[in-house]
């Protein structure tokens, strides 16, 4: 069987800047004819030498940051736009669900729009006649089908559009972020329908989504695009994990620009803050579930009594996750002027992969007045391989699941015992 989709060396360039007016074009043409150089608008490569092939029946997710070239790729596949170079070969009829409801006419009734939209998507009148009831049924629209679409709520419109779009009979389905439509119940229905199209009817599906969880659940293969190139192409788990990492790195890059917020009495100054990994190497990328050390270097200008240090982790949007202070462990009667180094050792860092920041404070005196306080002091990334299902939240919980049903437990143990070497 030939592959359903074959893309080879696909490149798409756009000219940056605004389209020139007629006058400028004429002037430029004149200049070109006279042999003078004409300022060219710079090129932007939305897709850069992308090659892959998709077998029939494969369900492929395409993920990537905004501007990675996902939509451009889909447009090429759906023949909406033409590649600058390279080729796209498609075997079979394509139904593009690129933003459902394109071409709905507000003045038309639901019924008229079903026929119009069906025709636009390439269905014949007979085909629509045959499927009409099913479409209306699926969209839960029987009551409103003869009302103009402009009186519909936006959710109703999308439901109807989705119902029409997914009833197109095609071998290849291109889906661009459409599952996020309607209320929860309808989303569930959409998801089921997609799953039905994929698993039961064996269609070839291309799914573009920012919902990585959904991609991982539906797809058998994921392609990660980055700046117009294929960054990774492979099993959903691995590719999605590496996408999460990249996202984190990007957030990190953005967060690093955010300023630290500090206030100080002037008696103390924070000179340096470093994170050391389990090997004692200065880094801003820590590994999940590994030991690490946080190192504060301070300069004290004036002798301080009864000093307590404290530090905590917080998210980039200032949700305080932890606080830990030295009161119980260090009893510093007097801290002399000069430079000091404080270490705080953390065993098995429980923070889940993501981007976090540090805050640090120093109090002194019997009343514990704040000498120094700063937050957003240093951003760092926690990396690690974790299933997507365990990525939500901030902390890993050391927990164990047991099925309290006696027989099942024994059975499970028996199985695992057998697999032991």
């Amino acid at each position: 069987m030939p592959p359903a989709i074959e893309v080879s060396h696909l490149t798409k360039e756009y000219r940056l800047g605004a389209l020139q007016g007629l006058k400028q074009t004429l002037l430029n043409t004149g200049a070109r004819l006279m042999g003078k150089p004409v300022p060219e608008r710079p090129l932007f490569k939305a897709l850069d030498d992308v090659s892959f092939s998709i077998e029939q029946g494969e369900v492929v997710g395409i993920i990537g940051h905004n501007g990675a070239g996902k939509s451009t790729l889909l447009k090429m596949l759906a023949r909406i736009s033409t590649p600058t170079s390279g080729s796209v070969k498609v075997n079979g009829r394509i139904a593009p669900l690129i933003e459902v409801g394109a071409g709905f006419v507000p003045d038309f009734t639901g019924r008229e729009n079903v026929y119009l939209n069906g025709a636009i998507l390439g269905m014949s009148k007979k085909e629509i006649d045959r499927k009409f009831d099913e479409i209306v049924d699926f969209a839960e629209m029987a009551e409103f089908i003869d009302t103009p679409v402009k009186r519909y709520s936006s959710g109703m419109q999308v439901k109807l559009a989705f119902a029409v779009a997914t009833s197109v009979e095609s071998e290849i389905l291109i889906v661009d972020e459409v599952l996020a439509v309607g209320d929860l119940a309808f989303q569930r229905k959409c998801f089921d329908r997609m799953e039905d199209l994929i698993k039961r009817q064996g269609k070839t599906v291309l799914l573009v989504s920012h919902n990585i969880r959904q991609v991982q659940r539906l797809c058998t293969r994921v392609i990660l695009l980055d700046h117009g190139r294929i960054n990774q192409d492979g099993m959903p788990q691995a590719v999605c994990d590496s996408f999460y990492e990249q996202s984190d790195a990007k957030i990190h890059a953005n967060a690093a620009l955010a300023k630290a917020r500090t206030r100080t009495s002037g008696d103390l100054e924070l000179i340096e803050l470093s994170l050391l990994d389990q090997d004692g190497i200065d880094t801003n990328r820590l590994a999940f579930n590994q030991d690490c050390v946080i190192q504060f270097k301070i300069h004290v200008h004036q002798a301080l009594n009864d000093v307590t240090f404290g530090f905590g982790f917080h998210t980039t949007d200032f949700v305080y996750l932890t606080t830990h202070n030295s009161e119980e462990q260090l009893h510093i009667k007097t801290l002399h002027p000069g430079k000091h180094e404080i270490l705080c050792k953390i065993s098995r860092l429980p923070l889940l992969p993501g981007i976090y920041s540090l805050r640090f404070g120093v109090t002194a005196g019997k009343a514990g007045g704040t000498i120094f306080y700063g937050e957003n002091l240093k951003h760092f990334q926690v990396a690690g391989n974790l299933p997507v299902t365990a990525r939500e939240g901030f902390f890993a919980l050391d927990a164990q699941w047991l099925l309290a049903d006696e027989g099942a437990c024994v059975h499970d143990i028996a199985v695992s015992a057998n697999t032991m070497p």
């Binding site: 389209l19 033409t82 003045d107």
Partner: protein, 272 residues
């Protein structure tokens, strides 16, 4: 051109559906509905008849209102299908960016829509003819080929104009102005016979007269309007001599216009 024919056949249902959409949308909430389609030629006919009573235009033995209405029918059809055709691609941005089908569907749909309105105008024409006691002859069978030729003339402008309009919206703005000028260069207000008399019989421009007449008939509408009036009102065959220059122009320009459209088509979604 072959792909055009094939696309037309493959996408005939979509064409019809879109044409139906255009018509239905236009008149959906209008009380008079599709009757608006006849308003423009009828109003113009009344105005021209009024003007004619001041300036005096020789309309031969045909009553002027019928003559001018029979000129306005193909003219309005041509003018409106050309201008709507030119704006059809830009006007369907949402579809162009979302779904692929051959883009010539859009200009063709515009022309198809206008064809329906033209059909309605035939009712008015029939009523006018009945009022003046005119009976159509067998030459009325020429009407379908003349209309088909008008469609080709409109598409020649529509294809090229629609493609350029994507890049330079100037075209969509300029075309109505240009076309209203062309109306005066077409035998709408006056019959072609007057031009013929001036140039061919009286040789009013001296040695340039024949060349000027050819230039005049290079405008396909000159031949079309005259032919339409002849076969419907005069009960005579069309004056093919007046049609040849225009027909040659269309035969050359239509393929070029279509090719240009097809070449530009693949960038519509990027530029629009």
């Amino acid at each position: 051109m072959l792909t055009l024919a094939k696309n037309l056949y493959d996408y005939r249902e979509l064409l019809l559906t879109l044409a139906w959409k255009n018509i239905a949308v236009r008149y959906k909430q209008a009380y008079l509905g599709i009757a608006w389609a006849i308003l423009k030629p009828v109003m113009l006919m009344l105005i021209f008849t009024l003007v004619k009573s001041f300036v005096g235009i020789d309309s031969g033995d045909i009553p002027y209102p019928v003559l001018v209405f029979a000129a306005l029918m193909p003219w309005t059809f041509f003018q409106e299908s050309a201008s709507e055709g030119v704006n059809s691609v830009v006007g369907n941005t949402a579809l162009i960016k979302k779904i692929y089908f051959p883009r010539e569907i859009f200009p063709i749909t515009s022309v198809l829509t206008k064809l329906v309105e033209l059909g309605i105008n035939f009712v008015i024409l029939a009523a006018l003819m009945a009022w003046y006691g005119m009976v159509p002859t067998v030459y009325i069978l020429w009407v379908p080929p003349i209309i088909a030729y008008t469609v080709l003339a409109a598409l020649t402008i529509a294809f090229f104009g629609a493609a350029v309009n994507v890049y330079y919206r100037d075209v969509g703005q300029a075309l109505p102005v240009l076309l209203s000028l062309v109306m005066y260069a077409s035998p709408v207000i006056y019959p072609l016979q007057l031009v013929k008399d001036k140039l061919l019989v009286q040789q009013a421009a001296g040695e340039w007269s024949n060349a000027l007449y050819t230039l005049y008939t290079l405008n396909p509408l000159a031949g079309i309007i005259d032919a339409f009036q002849s076969v419907v009102l005069r009960g005579a065959p069309p004056d093919l001599n007046a049609m040849i220059p225009g027909a040659v122009a269309i035969a050359v320009l239509l393929p070029l216009s279509y090719l240009y459209f097809k070449r530009a088509e693949s960038y519509f979604a990027d530029v629009i």
